[in-house]
Amino acid sequence: MSEKNEKLIADYLKGMLDDQGKREIEELIAEGDIDFIDFRAIEQLHDELDMIPIPEQSSNLSKNFYTMLEEEKGKSRISIRNTVREKIMEVLNQVTMPRLAYACILLIAGAFIGNQMNSNDAEIKELTSEMQTMREMMMVSMLEGPSTTDRLRAVNISAQLPSVDQKAIRALFFTLNNDESINVRVQSIEALSRWGDNPIVREGFVKAIANQESDIVIITLADAMVELGLKNSANEFQRLINEKDLNSATKLKVENTIAVLS
């Protein structure tokens, strides 16, 4: 058989042929260039391959993976700590006596200027507070906009805020529960996690579980719950498994999360 015909049959098996391609195969069979019995046997064999059973994996696979991940995270933390330590030592090693004297002068000058500025502290605080209010207003307004990019940007603005008020939290939860974009929902979980000490955020997260359909949002939410140690979310996750038809990977993840939280 020619390579051209072999490729044509491979495309047929993959379901890649359009009507013209299928007609071409029929013509080649009719002309005897492709043996009909061979062709049908290969097609049938291709279908029957599903019969080969795959045994269940052992629970060790998951256990070994997460152990390895934790070890790697530990190594990574040590490596960052060492890098910071090395940098500090590098700077300290460069400080010779004249430099040390210069550093002391700068320190004294800084303390003096700081002292002079204390009188304006109240003004600075007021200005900072006003700026934060404006940022929050802008964020809430952008969250309600039609553009996904703007909504994503709004969620990111929340990350720059040193604190958020209830209105901003409500807006972020509204986004988490209702936004049509999965990316925006995922980002809102990450943004809200920053305020995980806030009781409203903790309560909102638990309630949000029942509103989710997307696997990636559910998985991200599960990770956030573990990170924040929200043990009371285990029941909500159990209800989610019972009531919704989750795909097997998501279900496994949620079951693992429940196990961690319980």
Partner: protein
Amino acid sequence: MDSTTDKALMMKVKDGDLDKLGLLFERYNRPLYSFFYRKTFEPQLSEDLVQSVFERMLKYRTTYSGTGAFTTWMFSIARNAHIDHYRKEKRRKEDEILDEERIASDAPTGYMEMDERHQKKLLLEKALEQLDEDKKEVVILSRFEGLKYHEIAEIQGVTESAIKVRMFRAMKDLKQIVTTLSEEYSHE
């Protein structure tokens, strides 16, 4: 599966958010296990190789560029993990192959008492096991893992045309092996 999200997750792993690899593990440990099992028919080895793939993803995370499908990158790592294992175990494997060849000609215990469906399952498994390694890989990635021919071509480092030819010839060989084994087992 949303490949953009896979890429985004892997990019986060690259940036140091290692927990995101857990999500990729939950998504892909089963397809990888199936891939290795169909290649080796050894459950424990398949699990070890899955673990090896995720170890390599962590080790080489900084080299992840995010170009192309995530699954192509992942199965390329899987392929290399299998090749490395095979090379490492080559001497032992060669001895085993001699044993397997001898065993392969024997009919599996109770073959004649099995119903037609069980016989077929067994024949397909044995035939896939005997298929040439590159051809077997094309069948596994195309038929079971749902990869496109151009993605398999990238993994095996050949053209898409070559993969299509390889796929057809793999199916043809498989048909021949099934016929031969069926005759051998029935005459014993």
